[in-house]
Symmetry: C2
Subunit: 412 residues, 2 copies
């Protein structure tokens, strides 16, 4: 009874967690308070080195695999597959201090706390730092977790090149993190992450109990009309590609609002040609990003988009070509782990709500090989992938406490 | 009677006109069959030199004024102000062979024809080549005719600089066409030009009897919302600047279709920021170009645009700032000269229709200081300001014959 009481009452050290995040954020710090620590650069190496040093100082067994994923393990009393925590240390080109780094530092803090309280677990507990989650220097993103989960081959990922022609494999060798070995069994995987959206802040909620991640379909769209002079060309003789494209933007927006279950749809990119004040645009290229929690609804959204494109093409006398370039099906996290997160938040007296991740995370790939869940905490204004990304120390600590309790429930 | 019969039966030399256009188009010829002869460049000088040589060979008195406008005069029998023809020899960066050049070469051909037939006119007849109509190298366009008509001062135009920092005045000196003197009285001005729109071709009409030019109002519009991640950000929490901008594009299009009298409205330029596939756009900049034959209707169109912007701003939770940067009132040509063009086309048995110029031309400025009219001929597909601009020799000849007859009516 004493031991169980002690476990349940264990709390992470909020100040130590914050200090770790701030110390780590010095590596690749940008003038505006953000972080630029692209995957497999010298700065990534420094970030990894710091994490490895801290993990070893905490008495953890550290190793890295062939794709550079780092694992720091605290042994359990039984030969069970580990309960794993983790996220990534690489950043966007103009990234923030918490995206990814929080999940790794929170995992480290959980292990430090277990040490402080001399907690013995049956299963080993690990923290993983996955290689190249952002995909900013080398495509694709979520590369390390993708190889771990068998989504990508090591050969494919290693051969990817950056803009200077340096391959992923060469860059990994160069920073000294090309290890050996492939995936190992995982008993459960938890990833703590800032929300990167506004829902928690907007609803004044501390903990997001993540149900899974939206499926995604990405499209490239070309609208082709005919350039013409804005002055001499009567409206009825025009083939204005931008009028067609604008109607499509509004249809994309309508589709998102019409379909249930977290439907989202965005035109984020648009290029107008020739893009001159007094020329009717002859050509517009744009992208469509559609997301939904249900794969069948996502398919209906795609069909709706294509029907809209056909209607617009006929009515605006332009050609509208829609080409799908990416399809990620939705991901559902393991109910028993999601429940563990919810229970932990409840036991800690923290406000919490179910939420679905709109973005991809390493956890989406881990979910293919292990029971998986995520814990979201609010970020200021919902802003991420930006140097001004920010999060409150108390929210980060709360998320880490939830992580500790959920891990304890699974590893005990 | 003999003389009048001879005048009415005089016809221009279609082959000579075509050869002049083709020979001139060799200066600055582009690989795709177009012309690049920017104002006050060495190529512009070569084009001017050729025109001056041909004019002198035709026995015309040639001079140029302080802004570089060239005038080639055939004397009349009385000290009357001249009947003037003209257009411009400079081109767009990727321009065609006929835009501008046609009006100058047609004027020269009319004077050559008067010589061939030994026609005596009461008034002198002149052909003018106006400096820098296109405004591609130096802003503003219609600079030479603008100075001639007192719209711009010589000092203002001369001080304008190109992208390399060379001033208009320096460039004019350098090519040897900085003459002396200002404007002289003009009895009537006729400008022949390709339509630069599709109406004549579409209606299988040879001659456009130009009533005047549309008024123009130009706007710069900024739509400001908030960047956000396309995945995690629910639709109802977005401030999507591109959704707002797209609604505005459609409103601009609606406005053009709702107002009578040749209403035209165009969004030709749009810039989306940050313009990334999975980021909800936070900022869009676009231009609006509105044109109408009636200034009061044009004002209503502007008011409608501003009301639409306000509605969209509120409904899309974005700010929409509309700033007017240019206002040209509509221009009405002189009824007696327009009638002369119509009568000439009728007498020659040519299909003709009334038309309004959607674009600005030197004639719009000349109309401020002299009775003015224009003659349009079809261009292929309505395409201009493009290397593939094309026109049929027989249409160019027909327009030139109309010019000859209209000039004879006024100068006789």
């Amino acid at each position: 009874m004493e031991k169980i009481h002690s476990r349940r009452s264990a709390r992470i050290d909020a100040e130590r967690l914050w200090r770790a995040l701030i110390d780590l954020a010095r590596i690749g710090a940008t003038p505006k308070g953000g972080v630029r620590r692209l995957a497999l650069t010298e700065l990534d190496r420094q970030g990894r080195d710091l994490f490895v040093r801290w993990a070893r100082e905490a008495g953890l067994a550290v190793r890295w695999d062939a794709v550079g994923n780092i694992f720091a393990r605290r042994e359990g009393s039984e030969p069970l597959p580990p309960v794993m925590m983790g996220s990534h240390l690489d950043s966007q080109p103009s990234g923030g201090r918490f995206d990814g780094a929080y999940g790794v530092m929170a995992g480290l803090e959980v292990l430090r706390t277990l040490n402080d309280h001399k907690v013995k677990t049956r299963a080993p507990v690990e923290v993983a730092s996955w290689t190249n989650e952002e995909g900013s220097r080398f495509a694709p993103g979520m590369a390390g977790s993708g190889v771990f989960a068998g989504v990508h081959s090591l050969r494919f990922v290693s051969s990817q090149k950056d803009l200077e022609g340096v391959s992923f494999g060469e860059a990994l060798e160069r920073i000294g993190y090309a290890g050996a070995g492939g995936p190992h069994p995982v008993g459960a995987y938890f990833e703590a992450h800032i929300e990167q959206g506004p829902v928690l802040e907007d609803t004044r909620t501390t903990i997001g109990v993540v149900q899974g991640a939206l499926g995604q379909r990405w499209f490239d769209v070309a609208v082709i009309g005919q350039d013409a002079h804005a002055g001499p060309t009567p409206m009825e003789l025009r083939k204005d590609a931008l009028v067609g494209a604008s109607r499509l933007v509004l249809e994309v927006n309508r589709i998102a609002r019409e379909y249930p279950d977290y439907a989202r749809a965005t035109v984020g990119f648009m290029q107008v040609m020739p893009n001159s004040r007094n020329v009717v645009p002859g050509e517009v290229h744009l992208t469509v990003d559609m997301r939904n929690a249900s794969d069948s609804t996502l398919k209906k959204m795609k069909d709706d988009l294509q029907a809209s494109a056909t209607t617009i093409g006929a009515e605006c006398r332009v050609s509208v070509e829609v080409r799908e370039i990416v399809h990620f099906p939705p991901c559902e996290f393991a109910p028993e782990l999601v429940d563990a997160v919810r229970r932990a938040a409840g036991a800690l007296g923290l406000s919490h709500r179910d939420i679905v991740s709109g973005a991809g995370h390493d956890a989406v790939y881990l979910a293919r090989v292990a029971p998986t869940a995520m814990i979201f905490v609010p970020c200021e204004g919902g802003i991420s992938h930006n140097e001004i990304e920010n999060a409150r120390p108390e929210d980060l600590a709360a998320g880490c406490d939830v992580l500790l309790q959920a891990v304890l429930e699974r590893a005990a």
